[in-house]
Symmetry: C2
Subunit: 307 residues, 2 copies
């Protein structure tokens, strides 16, 4: 492994494992977390909550999965099929079970016994919220504001500890008019910058694009950038590698409004936006910049995190 970024990722990962902050699970991008790691992460999550609570959002907490049909309807499968996870299970009888046991005992591939369950894994915390708001009918004048916090899955096994396959996102989701969306984004660009500054982390906010799949995807990504629909708050975590997106600001225009038929106050299609905080990534950035022992961190940072 002579790629300097890969070596640096591996070194950082091994330090986190050595300090017992992350726990190896034998699969790239799946880690257990220690109690100490979780205390920092919960501090990060609570600090985000404290910033957003002034808006009195509606709190919704979704499980790590959504319906496969919902994933399909959201457009995620079209645009990010390589990242999406669907859940399969065994659905046979005693004879199929015997065949499964036989495969297991011989160490053979048993994936052929798995059938779709109708459940998929949540790709981003906000995906649960849109159909719920849509089902309530025409938006009130104030639109909707939802606070979500969910385990997400993306199929991208990596040695970069900041690119996990399973991780948590804290998001605020805004649904309303284009003017409400614009205000929401401006407000959160400022709030996120101020919060991450208070954590003593270096950062920059830049235009970005989602990792759309394939040839068609490159066109979508370019268009997203040209229209400045996505910004990321980037923190350098591993010096030898690209900076890590720790917060993202996404203006979906009427994409989800159309997908879910969310009716705006004026009878048109609602616009949506979200701000998503990667709480594991912020925790890793803190560990990288302030050291592996949170008790030794600057008093100001510990205060923000309630540590």
């Amino acid at each position: 492994m002579t790629d300097p970024a890969a070596s640096a990722y591996r070194r950082f990962r091994d330090e986190l494992l050595h300090h017992g902050l992350l726990i190896s699970m034998g699969v790239d991008g799946l880690f257990g977390r220690s109690g100490g790691f979780e205390r920092v992460l919960e501090g990060v999550n609570a600090a985000i909550g404290a910033v957003g609570d002034v808006d009195r959002p509606e709190v919704m907490r979704f499980p790590p999965g959504i319906g496969s049909l919902q994933l399909e309807q959201s457009g995620y499968l079209r645009n990010f099929p390589h990242l999406a996870g669907t859940v399969a299970s065994f659905s046979g009888g005693d004879d199929d079970h015997r065949a499964l046991l036989d495969s297991l005992s011989k160490g053979e591939d048993w994936s052929g016994t798995q059938r779709p369950t109708g459940v998929a894994l949540t790709p981003a915390a906000c995906y649960g919220a849109y159909p719920v708001v849509a089902a309530r009918g025409r938006l009130p004048e104030a639109g909707a504001l939802v606070d979500v916090y969910t385990w997400c899955f993306r199929h991208e096994p990596s040695i970069d500890p900041a690119r996990m396959q399973m991780f948590r996102q804290r998001e605020h989701v805004r649904i309303g008019s284009p003017a409400q969306i614009a205000t929401f984004r401006e407000t959160w660009l400022e709030r996120a910058r101020s919060l991450v500054e208070s954590l003593g982390l270096p950062m920059a906010i830049e235009v970005a694009n989602d990792p759309f799949f394939g040839r068609v995807g490159r066109i979508l990504a370019n268009s997203q950038r040209e229209r400045s629909l996505k910004f990321e708050l980037l923190v350098p975590i591993v010096a030898e590698a690209p900076r890590t997106a720790c917060v993202s600001f996404n203006d979906h225009r009427d994409l989800f409004g159309r997908a879910w038929a969310i009716e705006a106050q004026d009878g048109g299609v609602a616009h949506t936006a979200c701000v998503g905080f990667g709480v594991e990534r912020l925790t890793l950035a803190l560990l990288r910049h302030h050291g592996f022992v949170p008790g030794d961190w600057p008093a100001g940072v510990r205060h923000v995190l309630g540590l």
Copy 2:
């Protein structure tokens, strides 16, 4: 639907939805939770933590998934293939993507595009802990005690709100000698009884068995009962239906010790046991017995939950 249990499940579910405590996601057994539901659930979880913290367990927090190989090695796939969930994803190129887009636009089945990812869903909170403890080598004299809290998946879509497909378990896991296991189980049988009593819930603790699959499974289930290896703390939630297991006490003997080659202090195979609390189930039991408005609950119950 004339089955009285089914009607009662449906009625209870509809009341929970009506009060906004659960949020429909369009799939049986998948629900969003309101902020109010989560405050109760977090109170339940914290109360369990307070009881167990006196033992100074090692805290491990695992994501909702584990490696498919780990699921296989644990024996879960053999015994509960119908409940286990495995994660699949698209792994094709641009041509396959075009075919996927075509299927999606025609509303056709696209499950054939999904390939195994090597990730499975966590069936019980303790499954992450065994390989970690095994990898550390021979147990110290005191054995190991681990506190876990994880989202679990079981493929059993149901209209019973207490039988979710995705739910959280708080567990203490004990790994050591048969004598240490026996003490652990006695201690937690008493602690759980006392905790659930303090929540003002009716209950009984009874011998139970796991839902092993198929014909072979019935033999395993009978043997488990005869040897009193599993107990459940049962609470009546829906009067017309069987009581709901809200806590389970499981003596695995040397099953996981052998599966993971966990070496006991004396060089033999370690025994393991766990006590698992279904925090959603306890929350639902509280809502059923004390009403849908936690602010109106008895002061003693609110005190235990920190509400």
